[in-house]
Amino acid sequence: MTAARLSLFQAALVIARRDFVAVLFSRAFFFFLLGPLFPVAVIATAGALGGSLAETGRPVIAIAMASPDREAFIAAHEAVVPRLGSILPTIVPLDRPVRDPQAELARPGTRWTAIVSGTVQAPVLTGPAEAIEDWKGPVAIIAAQAVHGGEPLFPAVALTSVSTSTAREANGRIRTAQAAQTLMFMLTMLLAGMVLSNLVEEKSNKIIEILAAAIPIDAVFLGKLFAMLAVSLVAIAIWGAAGLGLAALAGKALLILPGPAVGWPLFFALGTAYFAMAYLLLGSIFLAVGALANTVRDVQTLSMPVTMMQLLVFFFATYALSQPGGWAELAAMAFPFSSPFAMIARAARDPHVWPHVLALAWQMLVVAMLVRGGATLFRRRVMKSGGSRVRPWAALARWRARPTGS
């Protein structure tokens, strides 16, 4: 064997391969994949419950007119429902005369909230004040139709459709941009945390010294980052395939969004690249935090500010979306941590490609600097004999208390 050493990327590949295989075939990864099922299940359950409650809460109006007005009113209701739909209340015919609607509404066990009595020419609506104000219009329309009879009173509207309009397209693309930003943010937050726990686990396994003795720490950091990125992409592919499968089973697209300005293929490519950059940026910060932390408690203490910062960055990028061409958008594109989010939004709205080349180069540069910084921090603060615990706040206090001047 020659003495030539592994290059930085060869060394990183050794680490990445080990981490990728170890994480991918672990039980933890299987449960991690199931993670998004829980919020989806909660949302689906809440939606179903909401729909059921909405159905239960729909107003029911009793028709207490004498025959044949009662039949005429019900026939008119059926005639206008296809045109007016959900703005009309549900109606129920009463097959007995009601002398006192107020007493009927007060009777225990009654399931209607209002009663229409009188005649179709002069209907009387009895019910709670705030409700009858809303329903008097629909009741009047049904009564008018009942008086008129036959075909609906209002004419059919002829429809001429166009593929899109400029204003609608612009609004639609903002929706696409928002959706892409939100999805990317959620995936980044969900997946970048894995890097943190991975490094802490490495330190608790005490294997880090073997790695540091054989290859540069930069390679360890790079390897871990890229392994976790690859694991994330596998997770996204699995979730995406599962989503598409469900959509196919459901027989319709789960999400219909207007096409982005750069077109869907490039948008997906840029989305992948910006996700990778957002992941690497956040992951490299988490790695540096992991280098300082020795215990899970340290990790929680140190990662909280990073998580909050990332949340602020996301809000900033979202705000920048509402200020196209303004200082906020420029700042969001330039600030490394918001740049991937701002740029994917720009890809949805603007067809130019060159800003993406610049942005990706800039983001890569920052990732490289952060990895180098994290590695330096690791070497300086952690690899010392006795494994003394690093207390960042105590270090900060010492730094503040240091003598100033010469």
Partner: protein, 332 residues
Amino acid sequence: MKMELGEQVSHGNTQAPLAIEARGLVKRFGETLAVDGIDISVPEGAIYGILGPNGAGKTTTLRMLLGIIDPDAGVRRVFGHDRPHEIARLIGYLPEERGLYPTMKAVEAIAFMGALRGLPLKEGRRRGHELLDRHGLGHAADKQIRHLSKGMAQTVQLLGSLVHRPRLVVFDEPFSGLDALNQGKLERMIRTLAEDGTTVIFSTHVIAHAERLCERIAIIAGGKVPFAGAVDVARDRIPPQVRLETRVPDGPWRQALPQGAQQEVAPGGSTVWHFALPPDGIEPLLRQLIASEAGILSLSIERAGLHDAFVAIAGEAAARALDSEQAEEMPS
């Protein structure tokens, strides 16, 4: 201060080139001066011991020599390279804090450690099986590390540090945590490595291991190296001790004994005297004793042990620290 490297050190009967050369290494952690100007020269093919109590700076020194951390001052060279990572393929390392991935299979762990040093994984697995078989662990090759005993896991890690056939192996406290049987096996393994031309450096706070294995040692105490050189030279820091047994306790011959000679009564009623070998040797004294009819029953000259040398070189406090650590560490 300019550091000069490029020295050769007498090793055995030859002037061996140096595997490791360090001059004036300094390392500070915050306000703690962990290593304070250490000089070490390790000839190729030697078994070299770094001896000192815990906290003396042994691990920090080894980490600097291996490039895990950089010194604040001083220079180091491993096989002539001042960046040890550049010749990682030539070095094997067993750190003091043993660690392996718990869910990795034993043979995979060995192959992975080889891959870190540039050995292709396939070849690493092949050699891993070979090494495990040779050390009686063939049955554990496909077992996960977490299912192995502590001693077996430690052996796996040791084999992982050797799988790429390094020219230099560095063991940090390799005997720590091993039972007597495995300590013996490790001693034999170290000798075999040296016989094959591999340079072995190990740190220890157990003097007996260094005394049995090493030709050269560095004694570290308080971040400094008060002695670095051949074990024989360290022992020679203390004059050999003379043990003289006489039939009677007194007589005119007693005037010939050096001042400070210690006297004790042996179980058979004879008298035993202990004193340092006089600077002019034993022969003049022996002539006087015979001439004055001292009634010599026996006379022996005992060379100082490494422990005595350590006390003389590093001081009583360091020796006491070392003794208490050895007492904790020695296998029952």
